[in-house]
C-alpha cells in the first residue's frame, strides 16, 4: 500500500467503481479501497448472512429461506433505463460482457385505489382504463407532439417554445386532465414531486422521450435489470479497473485522509500505512466533515412468497404511487424482482418500497405501498441520509459522490459520474461505442 498513486478511490459503490474503471482504462494508477469485505458499498447486493448482519445485528437467517448463495438482495432499489446513460457507459467500457440482463416485465401506476399498467404500446394505450375516450384522443395528440418535436424545426413546435414555457403550459395546451398529468409526470417522466410543472417543459420532454425510447427497445417496460442483482454493476466496473491495472483492497479500514500544508490532499492512511496520491474520489461515508445532509430516504426491503397482487403475476415490476394519490409531497415507489433474476431462492419475490422521508415516522409513510404487497415473510426497514458534498473538490482535490437518491433509475448516478469525471480530469466524459472484441490486450 505504501506507494504513490494518481487517484485513490474510497468505497466500491457504483459511482466510485465506474470512475475507477474509466480512470484505469485511461492509464491512471488507481488504488481502490473499501472498508467492507464486499463490493458495492451502499449500492451492494447482500446475501442472507450479510443482510442479517446489517439489519438483525448478526442473527442467523432462518434456515427455511434457503442457501446464502441464492440471495443477492439490493439495498438501493433502482432499475436501468434500456436507453439510458448507464447502458451507454456499459457498452462504451465493454463491461456488458461480464453481465447478463433481463427485462423488467411491467411498469404500473396506482390511481384511485387501483393498480393499472402503464401502457407500453399504442394497443395497450387504447385499452388502458387510465383515461376515458376523449382524454385518450387528447393524450394521443400530446404524445404525437412530443415525438414529432424537433429542436431545429419550428413547424413542429406548434407555437410553444418548450425551452422557455413551463410544463404546465404544455399540459394546458392539450387540455389534459389532472389525472393524466399525474400519470405522465410521475409514471413516465418519473418525477418524484410536482415541482416540475413550473420548470421548463424541455426537462420533462427529455424524460418522456427517454421513457418512450426505452420501452421501444425491448418492449415490455422501459427497464432492464442485471441477473444476480444490482451489485453486479460495481463488481463489473471494478473488474474493468483491475484489468487495466487498478489495485483492489477490500476489508481495509480508512483511518485518515492526509492533506499537505496548502490543504490539498496527499494521501490516505490505513493503520500505519500511508498511500500517497494526487487525488481522492469517494462516497460520502468516508468524509463526514465534508458533506451535508439534504434529506432522508426510507426503504423497506420485503421478502414475499407471491408476486405483488393485481400486477398480472409477472416476475418483476415497477409500481409508482403518485404523491397526489396518497396526500403526500413525494411519490412512493415499489420495485420488485424475483428468483428468475437470481436474487432470491426459488418461489420467493423481493419488493422494495421507498420514498423520501417527510415526517418523523418514516415507516408509516410507506404504509400505502406496503399495503399493496400482501403478507411479507421478512421486512427490513432502512432509513438513510441523503448526503452531498459541500465543496466541488477544486481546492483540496477530494471529489465526493452523492448518496443514491430515491429516483427509479440511474440517471442521477450517471450525472454524478460525469460531474466528478469533469472536475477530477478537467475533461468531458465522451462515450462511444467500442468495436466488439472477444479478447483484448491493452498496450
Amino acid at each position: 500500500m505504501d506507494e504513490e498513486y494518481d487517484v485513490i478511490v474510497l468505497g466500491t459503490g457504483l459511482t466510485e467503481c465506474i470512475l475507477s474503471g474509466l480512470l484505469s482504462v485511461e492509464g491512471k494508477k488507481v488504488l481502490h479501497i473499501d472498508r467492507n469485505d464486499y463490493y458495492g458499498g451502499e449500492s451492494a447486493s447482500l446475501n442472507l448472512s450479510q443482510l442479517y448482519r446489517k439489519f438483525r445485528s448478526g442473527a442467523e437467517p432462518p434456515s427455511e429461506l434457503g442457501k446464502d448463495r441464492d440471495y443477492n438482495i439490493d439495498l438501493i432499489p433502482k432499475f436501468m433505463m434500456a436507453n439510458g446513460e448507464l447502458v451507454r457507459i456499459l457498452t462504451h467500457t465493454d463491461v456488458t460482457k461480464y453481465l447478463e440482463f433481463k427485462q423488467i416485465s411491467g411498469s404500473f401506476v396506482y390511481r384511485d385505489g387501483k393498480i393499472s399498467k402503464v401502457p407500453a404500446s399504442e394497443m395497450e394505450a387504447v385499452r388502458s382504463p387510465l383515461m376515458g375516450l376523449f382524454e385518450k384522443r387528447r393524450a394521443k395528440k400530446f404524445f404525437e407532439y412530443m415525438q414529432n418535436w424537433r429542436e431545429d424545426d419550428p413547424s413542429t413546435h406548434q407555437g410553444l417554445d418548450i425551452n422557455t414555457v413551463p410544463m404546465s403550459a404544455v399540459y394546458e395546451k392539450f387540455g389534459l386532465e389532472p389525472g393524466t398529468q399525474d400519470f405522465i409526470g410521475h409514471a413516465m417522466a418519473l418525477y418524484l414531486d410536482d415541482s416540475y410543472l413550473t420548470r421548463t417543459a424541455r426537462e420533462s420532454y427529455d424524460r418522456i422521450i427517454l421513457y418512450i425510447t426505452s420501452v421501444a427497445r425491448y418492449g415490455k417496460s422501459p427497464y432492464i435489470y442485471p441477473l444476480y442483482g444490482l451489485g453486479e454493476l460495481p463488481q463489473g466496473f471494478a473488474r474493468l479497473s483491475a484489468i487495466y491495472g487498478g489495485t483492489y483492497m477490500l476489508d481495509k479500514p480508512v483511518d485518515e485522509i492526509v492533506y499537505d500544508a496548502n490543504g490539498k490532499v496527499c494521501g490516505v492512511r490505513s493503520g500505519d500505512e500511508i498511500a500517497k496520491t494526487k487525488q481522492v474520489i469517494g462516497d460520502p461515508s468516508y468524509f463526514h466533515d465534508k458533506v451535508r445532509k439534504v434529506g432522508k430516504v426510507v426503504r423497506a426491503i420485503c421478502l414475499l412468497k407471491h408476486p405483488i397482487p393485481n400486477t398480472d403475476d409477472v416476475d418483476s415490476i415497477q409500481l409508482v404511487i403518485p404523491q397526489n394519490q396518497v396526500n403526500r409531497k413525494h411519490d412512493i415507489y415499489i420495485a420488485s424482482v424475483s428468483a428468475t433474476h437470481n436474487v432470491c431462492a426459488k418461489g420467493y419475490y423481493l419488493a422494495i418500497v421507498s420514498t423520501i422521508v417527510e415526517t418523523d415516522k418514516p415507516e408509516e409513510e410507506i404504509k400505502p405501498g406496503l399495503d399493496l404487497l400482501g403478507p411479507c415473510v421478512e421486512k427490513f426497514i432502512n432509513v438513510t441520509d441523503l448526503d452531498e458534498p459541500i465543496e466541488d473538490g477544486s481546492k483540496d482535490q477530494v471529489f465526493i459522490s452523492r448518496s443514491y437518491d430515491a429516483t427509479s433509475h440511474f440517471g442521477t448516478v450517471c450525472k454524478d459520474v460525469k460531474s466528478i469525471y469533469k472536475r477530477a480530469t478537467g475533461q468531458d466524459l465522451v462515450l462511444k461505442q467500442r468495436p466488439k472484441q472477444e479478447e483484448e490486450f491493452a498496450e
Binding site: T96, A238, A242, T247, N342, E438, E439
Partner: protein, 214 residues
Amino acid sequence: MSTTNNRQNAHASGKLYQFKLVLLGESAVGKSSLVLRFVKDQFDDYRESTIGAAFLTQTISLDDNTTVKFEIWDTAGQERYKSLAPMYYRNANCAVVVYDITQASSLDKAKSWVKELQRQADPNIVIALAGNKSDLSARRAIDSEEAQAYATDTGLLFFETSAKTAVNVNELFTSIAKKMPLEQLAANSRGRGSSSKQRGVDLTSPTSSNNCSC
C-alpha cells in the same frame, strides 16, 4: 460476446460446447503464464502482473464431432488483497487452481481457494489442481505425492505443469474438457447457466424491439 453464444451450438462438423473457466491461486504462481502458453503458446520470463486481458478464449477438439471452447477468466490481480468479486465465480463451469511447487505456502493457499469454490461456485464445477513451475524441480518444496493425495481425496484433476517448457499444459486443459459432463449438457439442451443467457437482452444490439412505441 458471451451473452449471445449458446452453450451448445451446431458446429460445422459437430457440437461446440462453451465453458467459462476461472483461474485461481496465489499471486505469482503463474496463472496468467499457463493461459498464455495454452492460448498463444508463448512464455515470457519477466511477465508483469496481469494487465489488459478481459478474458481469452481457446478451443480444443476432443474428436471429429466435439469441440470445447474455453472462455478463460484471469483474476486481474484482484486475488492479491482478498478482493476477488463473487461475480468472478458466477456461472463458472470449471476452474484451474494453481500453486507453485517451489513455494510451500502456495499449496495451502490453493486448498483455501478450492474451499472457496466449493462454497461459492456451482456445485457441479470441475476443478483441476495445477502444480506449476515443474521445470524448477531442483527447488521443489512440495512433493507430487502430497498434492496428488489431496487432489484424489477432494475429487480434483491433478497435473504438475510448466508454463515455461509447456509440459502438461495442453494435457491439463484437455483433461478438463474431457471431464465436462457433455452428454448431460446435450441431453439437457438448456445446459448449465445457458437458459438465462437465451432469455437475456443484448445491450449492444442497436434495436432489438419488435414492438412499436406508444
